[in-house]
């Protein structure tokens, strides 16, 4: 037990350090972009205003509201101070909305889209990869090139292809949005059906690509494991194939679990392409808008979410690893 405590303590310490470093970068990097966010906001309102004094008054007003004229170090401490109070600040581009409110309304869509898609892609990919390694012959010959192909298609290419085929040419799926253009959200079968219909293309555009990557990895790992000495030994002992596949799967899974944890952690960034192409709501679109409008608090807010998710995923992974692979635990406790 003491060993566990020390192990977790050490881990937590390093995650803490990483978190502080990430926080600093989250805050600083957006502010190093060339350009001036206040003038971006003013540009939206000043078009059509003919009085230079009026434009200046608007500029000064926002510079004061956003505190962008203060020294960066002072802004950083205000930011961190507010974070401790659970306040991620006020968005520049969607002023006066709170960043937490914007992220809150977007995060459900991203989780709803990404979580099932990543898990589904991971599951299908691993099963197909293991099967390809085990069955070989025709199955592998067909599957391998296909998975290679799909895993190398860029995410936007896949999304656009699906959009053109299913929405524009065949007209079997909706073009854009998270639910019907003629609906208002409510608890009814019609609405749920509409959400599910709009869900299909973004969902499959993510699944198909991740199947490819996962299957390739799983196949190689399984082939490697199938040729391992312990498998030969098990066969020699006359252990049933089913049982051996179980051993192989468990060993080949290890790197795949890392992959899963990392894709769960980075899902917000990964959501960007699918969300933008399908005009699907979510954190990816939010972050994209934040970057376009130089909305520092919003960029910092979304990247903070990514940072926390990656850190949590890696932390959980470290713990889970210990359980599924005693060798890792042993090594870590040394």
């Amino acid at each position: 037990m003491k060993g566990y405590r020390k192990y977790f303590g050490k881990k937590l310490f390093w995650f803490g350090i990483t978190f502080i470093a990430a926080l600093l970068l989250n805050f600083t990097l957006p502010r190093l972009m060339p350009g001036d966010p206040v003038s971006m906001i003013v540009s939206k309102q000043a078009q059509g205003l003919t009085e230079a004094s009026a434009v200046k008054a608007i500029y000064d007003n926002y510079a004061k509201e956003f505190g962008t004229s203060k020294p960066m170090i002072e802004q950083f401490f205000t930011y961190v101070g507010n974070l401790f109070k659970g306040d991620m600040g006020t968005s520049f581009s969607q002023y006066p909305r709170k960043v937490a409110d914007i992220i809150g309304s977007a995060v459900g869509w991203t989780l709803g889209l990404q979580l099932p898609a990543i898990i589904m892609g991971w599951l299908l990919g691993n099963i197909l990869g293991a099967l390809a390694a085990y069955v070989r012959k025709g199955f592998d010959k067909v599957l391998m090139p296909m998975t290679l192909f799909f895993s190398s298609v860029p995410a936007f290419g896949m999304a656009v292809t699906l959009l053109v085929i299913f929405s524009i040419t065949l007209k079997v799926t909706p073009v854009a949005g998270g639910y019907g253009y003629d609906m208002i959200p409510n608890f009814s079968w019609n609405f749920i059906n509409s959400v599910l219909q709009h869900y299909q293309l973004p969902f499959w555009s993510i699944v198909i690509i991740s199947i490819g990557g996962q299957a390739i990895g799983m196949r190689s790992m399984s082939i490697y494991e199938l040729n391992a000495d312990y498998v030969k030994y098990a066969r020699f002992l006359g252990i049933k194939d089913r049982k051996i596949v179980g051993y192989v799967f468990r060993n080949a899974m290890l790197p795949q679990v890392t992959g899963l944890a990392l894709s769960l952690g980075t899902m917000v960034g990964g959501a960007l392409v699918a969300e933008i192409i399908f005009s699907y709501p979510g954190l990816g679109t939010t972050m994209y808008q934040g970057i376009k409008m130089m909305d520092y608090p919003l960029i910092s807010g979304t990247t903070l979410i990514i940072t926390v998710m990656v850190l949590v995923a890696t932390f959980v992974l470290d713990i889970v690893y210990g359980f599924i692979d005693p060798r890792v635990k042993a090594a870590q406790f040394e």
């Binding site: 003038s39 205003l49 230079a52 459900g108 073009v175 959200p185 019609n190």
Partner: protein, 600 residues
């Protein structure tokens, strides 16, 4: 193995359930009947922030847009509605025409007796006065913008508004033209509601502007119904005062107005083609192909090219902070060599009249603006472009020649090397800049294109001085009651030189004393002939000095409609005089009262 499988299937089930729990609060009507709903695209980008029209930043394009070319009046209303077709002002909250006093320092406006707020109370002159006073007090965009030329807005009695001009040293109104803009641009808000906002904000101007205005009182025919990250829905107010015989005599036809929030232009265009959008305010390349080739029931305001009414003139500015560009012959020679027809065909896909059809001046192609100057007097100064021979002759005559034999012309022994810039991703502008660069090559002047991001571009262009961009693009004013004076000022007034954060105009920092005198004289000039002489002289200066040159004509609003559900949209040839203002701006809103269903 069994356990893992169970765990994974549970995880999957939870994840799928998650996707169902993202449903926001429900509203009464959950499906919008297609034949009662008018769908828009190209106005609302990103989700609505709030409903407070005193704020500058509600990102609520459909409800809150005050614009000199015609304010959007589905929820909030102005005194008058502007019609860019004939420059007329039609009374909305106002009763009859506005009246100037003899000295042209005061305007009197009557309020319609029938005009009511959504809570049933009468709209009074006091509301108009309080709206103006509050806007100035809290320093919002409108307040700051009217302050330089309106002294006060007073309520003489419940139904009479008196607008007093700010006076100059001679006792004349500083700018009578801009006072007219106030009449058709400024919304009127309910005094009682504004006072309530002030009270809960502790009279703090910033807090007043931050208020989300969820309880806002309106006077227009529609009100907020539902808004989220994907759409904003308005519902008709069936108690709308405007159904009184003294105004429209009826309610607008669509019960709901919906704007779906698309990620970008292509998404909106796809939805228009699919019939999910009825009115689309987006530039669509080769729009005529939608009906000529694809056979879709889509149309625009005009049956022939340029398909719309062009009132804006995207313009290439010379950076006059650069010594080399202070040479007028060089500026004019580059402008002469540019192939504008290629720009119009490539960048605008033909959706602009050519400079042979509408020779260049400071005026847009509308008949009203074209009539303001003497065409004969400026004829010799105009050019239609793609004239490398004249440009080369002009450069040679000015002594701008290749002295070192490297193929490029020099000034004072130095090669002229310029960049041509516009924001990255603005594809029509980028195409135009490429054609400008190509013109340089034809006449021996090195011009290279650069496309910085908008966030950087706008900071550089609006700076007090800059040495980064040599030739760069910006827009001009569209149609408004102050035009073409506003555009003359925007393109030539030296009042904008050296102003930090300059969004008003003259981005190339041109200075000309006579031009400034003309710009100062026009707003107070009432004699038609004298006015024409002033405008003509302004055009002569502009075409001689060439501080900038327009590259194309362009509509202020694109106005493509899909007639698969709704029809009887305004059309240039229907004689109704309803402008192509997307059925919601200025007098363009008259279209909403005349729409018909394709299948009733």
């Amino acid at each position: 193995m069994q356990k893992t499988r169970k765990l994974l299937s549970m995880l999957l089930a939870i994840a799928l359930l998650c996707s169902l729990f993202i449903v926001p609060a429900s509203a009464e009507t959950v499906e919008l009947p297609r034949n009662e709903t008018l769908y828009f695209a190209g106005i609302q980008w990103g989700s609505v922030n709030g409903w407070n029209p005193l704020s500058d930043d509600m990102n609520n394009g459909m409800a809150i847009t005050q614009n000199a070319g015609g304010s959007r009046s589905i929820m909030f209303e102005t005194l008058y509605m502007y019609n860019m077709l004939d420059g007329s002002l039609t009374p909305l909250l106002a009763d009859g025409d506005y009246v100037w006093n003899d000295a042209r320092t005061e305007i009197t406006v009557k309020i319609k007796p029938a005009a009511k707020w959504s809570d049933g109370t009468a709209i009074t002159a006091e509301d108009v006065a309080y709206t103006f006073a509050t806007s100035v007090k809290i320093g919002n965009a409108r307040g700051n913008s009217y302050k330089p030329f309106i002294e006060t807005v007073e309520a003489v009695d419940d139904s009479t508004v008196l607008i007093k001009a700010k006076l100059n040293d001679e006792g004349a109104a500083v700018n009578p033209l801009q006072m007219i803009t106030y009449l058709e641009e400024a919304y009127v808000f309910q005094k009682a509601w504004v006072e309530a906002v002030e009270a809960r904000s502790g009279d703090d101007p910033a807090a007043v502007k931050r208020d989300l205005g969820e309880d806002v009182v309106w006077s227009g025919p529609y009100t907020k119904y539902y808004a989220d990250d994907q759409k904003v829905v308005f519902v008709r107010d069936d108690a709308y005062w405007g159904q009184d015989a003294s105004m429209w005599g009826t309610l607008p036809v669509p019960k709901y107005i919906v704007h779906t929030i698309y990620a970008d232009n292509p998404a909106g265009e796809t939805a228009l083609k699919a019939g999910e959008v009825d009115v689309c305010q987006q530039f669509i390349a080769n729009i005529q192909d939608l009906w000529l080739k694809d056979g879709l029931p889509i149309s625009t305001y005009m049956d022939e090219a340029p398909w719309g009414i062009c009132v804006n003139m995207p313009t290439a500015y010379y950076n006059l902070d650069k010594p080399v560009l202070q040479n007028a012959a060089l500026r004019k020679a580059i402008a002469l060599a540019v192939d504008y027809d290629a720009i119009i065909q490539n960048a605008m896909t033909g959706q602009s009249p050519s400079f042979a059809d509408v020779p260049r001046s400071l005026m847009n192609p509308t008949a009203g603006e074209q009539a303001t100057f003497d065409h004969e007097a400026v004829k010799d100064l105009q050019w239609a472009g793609d004239d490398a021979a004249s440009a080369i002759a002009m450069l040679d005559a000015a002594g701008i020649v290749d002295t070192d034999g490297d193929g490029w012309r020099d000034i004072d022994g130095e090669k002229i090397s310029l960049n041509a810039c516009c924001p990255n991703g603005w594809t029509d502008w980028m195409a135009a800049m490429e054609i400008v660069a190509a013109a340089g090559e034809k006449i021996g002047i090195e011009i290279t294109t650069e496309f910085p991001e908008w966030s950087v571009y706008q900071t550089v262009v609006t700076a007090a001085t800059q040495d980064q961009y040599d030739i760069f693009m910006m827009w001009t004013d569209s149609a408004a009651p102050t035009q073409p004076w506003g555009r003359v000022r925007q393109l030539m007034s030296s009042e904008f030189v050296g102003v930090e954060g300059n969004w008003s105009g003259n981005w190339g920092h041109f200075s000309n004393a006579r031009a400034d005198e003309i710009i100062a004289a026009i707003p107070s000039e009432t004699d038609e002939a004298a006015l024409k002489a002033l405008y003509t002289e302004a055009v002569q200066i502009y075409l001689t000095e060439v501080p900038s040159f327009s590259l194309m004509y362009r509509p202020n609003m694109f106005h493509a409609v899909n007639e698969s559900v709704w029809t009887n949209f305004p059309d240039a040839s229907d004689g109704r005089n309803i402008p192509p203002a997307i059925c919601v701006d200025g007098y363009g809103i008259a279209a909403l009262y005349e729409l018909e269903l394709v299948n009733p």
